[in-house]
Symmetry: C2
Subunit: 343 residues, 2 copies
């Protein structure tokens, strides 16, 4: 097996990101004879995945599903990459606020900006949802879409995770990369359906997950078409367009994909309705939750966590027999860089 680090796939050219190679190059090469999910421990979770894929792809099976209906949807934060100590997009917003602060002297004395500049996470938490929204608008709006793509790209090239000291795009789950690859190799079309910002994800999902921009669904702010000196631009406005979370996820799936997935992968109560919507379709379905149980290699949290709370969905998964991945038990490796043969 050979893996290259994510940053080797990402390099900027003026105004946009270029994908040097598809993810398949960074994946363990699996032929029919080898294990397509080498980072998954043998057990019920892995078996459930393999059984499902086998059944829906075997033309002789009663559960066979034609390739064009093999739609699989994945949450991003906590399902494909980590979400602690806070959503990475919030950490991006904080860095961006600090970067813009010299142009906004008033932020030194105005919440929630003061809390960010003072690194006062308690005061930031006190500012609540309204405060967070102010941070998002101040950091995510007011520029063209092309400029924002560049800002996100630049940040990912330089920012490092506080605990792992790695680029955020390396804090993706190796077993889930293998799963994405395995599903696509079996004719599935893989989509991200995230509460995170759609334009925060699109610049890097092809290189990191092998998922092109048009298969990324997320929350969004409004944009406006303008001609500036005859040149058309799209300007990002400080106004919410769509929140792709909880009951918004089936709405987003319907809006962007227009057909019901046959498989859904999440990790929190924010994914419950997406899994319910997927489960309610006719024919064989597969629903999976990633349960964060490994404080040593990643993080352990569920029912009482502020971020990635997994409570109602965990009960419903138990009741309905959905697959619940125990990270500590089911995953041999969490991140690609843990593999002895990486880098």
């Amino acid at each position: 097996m050979m893996r290259l680090s994510v940053s080797e796939y990402l390099f900027a050219r003026p105004g946009r990101w270029v994908l040097a190679a598809c993810l398949c190059l960074s994946m363990p090469v699996a032929t029919a004879a080898t294990d397509p999910l080498p980072s998954w421990t043998e057990g019920a979770s892995k078996q459930a995945i393999v059984d499902f894929v086998g059944q829906v792809t075997s033309p002789d099976s009663a559960d066979f599903i034609v390739p064009e209906e093999r739609i699989a949807v994945f949450d991003n934060d906590g399902a494909l990459w980590s979400e602690k100590p806070a959503y990475f997009q919030l950490l991006f917003a904080i860095d961006r606020i600090k970067q813009l602060a010299p142009q906004h002297p008033e932020w030194k004395t105005t919440q929630p900006f003061k809390a960010v500049l003072d690194n006062d996470m308690d005061a930031l938490a006190d500012s609540g949802e309204k405060g967070l929204l102010q941070l998002v608008m101040a950091s995510h709006a007011g520029m063209t879409t092309t400029e924002f793509e560049q800002i996100v790209g630049d940040w990912l090239m330089t920012a490092r995770h506080p605990r792992f000291k790695r680029p955020y795009t390396e804090l993706v789950y190796q077993p889930m990369l293998e799963l994405l690859h395995y599903l696509r190799a079996n004719g599935f079309k893989t989509f991200i359906v995230s509460g995170g910002g759609i334009e925060f994800m699109r610049p890097w999902t092809q290189a990191v997950y092998g998922i092109p921009p048009e298969q990324v669904i997320g929350s969004s702010i409004k944009v406006k078409f303008e001609l500036r000196d005859g040149e058309p631009v799209l300007v990002r406005l400080p106004e919410i367009d769509f929140i792709d979370d909880k009951a918004g996820k089936p709405v987003g799936i319907h809006k962007f994909i227009g057909r019901r997935p046959i498989a859904a992968f999440g990790n929190s109560d924010g994914d419950l309705q997406m899994l319910q919507w997927t489960a309610a379709g006719e024919g064989r379905r597969f629903m999976l939750l990633v349960h964060h149980t490994d404080a040593e290699r990643e993080y352990a949290y569920d029912r009482t966590s502020h971020i990635g709370k997994l409570d109602k969905a965990l009960d419903e998964a138990d009741r309905r027999g959905w697959t619940v991945v125990d990270m500590k038990r089911d995953w041999k490796v969490i991140y690609p860089f843990e593999s002895p043969d990486s880098e």
Copy 2:
């Protein structure tokens, strides 16, 4: 060449439409040695298409574009199928209002419903945009998404065009079907970007155009996720979500696709911003307008038409050298059923 009628590809099963075969079966079979655009007259328009495709797909060309960036966007009404005597979706709304009238005795005396029930097109026009919106909401909202899909499917199976006495899905342009097929055979991903309703198109675009639901962008009303007796449904609400027309088209492209197309195909001023946005990208681009010049085989209209007005965009096409298809001159055949060997 063998073509099958569209209705042979569409047949209903409870709650949804099944695609019996992909469009390629209905397309003229073109090998490398045969003409991929047999319904196009030899001339500047056809040559411009073939030159563009050749240049962006030849690895040796300075204009080479990698397959994943080969995004082509097509307007629907007037660009892929006809839009006269009125947008087909409006004719659907009118039929639906008539169908629902027995449950709404008040419509007999209330505009714009009275105009519809009286077949009084002048009174309907007088009701303006507000009246049209009322018709759309009364005919398109209040049911689940699954129910609406069935309603559209049922209508398409029975409704006939007033002039051509054919199902509306047969009033598609054979040369454009060939173009869609030709682009896909050259690694393009084809999208619809229409001012029409996204859920009005998605049930049939795969069978008719070979374009899957997730590659259809259009106007939409809001939908809401609900559990009804524990069963999740999406309910269509009488509220506009997004208008995918004029300056909304680049916004819709950015929202749904997340990257800029390299080719755009339209026919009216409603497509102007989509073509501008496409043209403004780096590298080789292709912009095309279908000019309706054939009153005998289809319809002739442009600068003064209420539906499909082509005025500013025609001037800009002339000024910037965009390809303008003269239907009468450039298309040997308009509709698939005109071919002597069809059916």
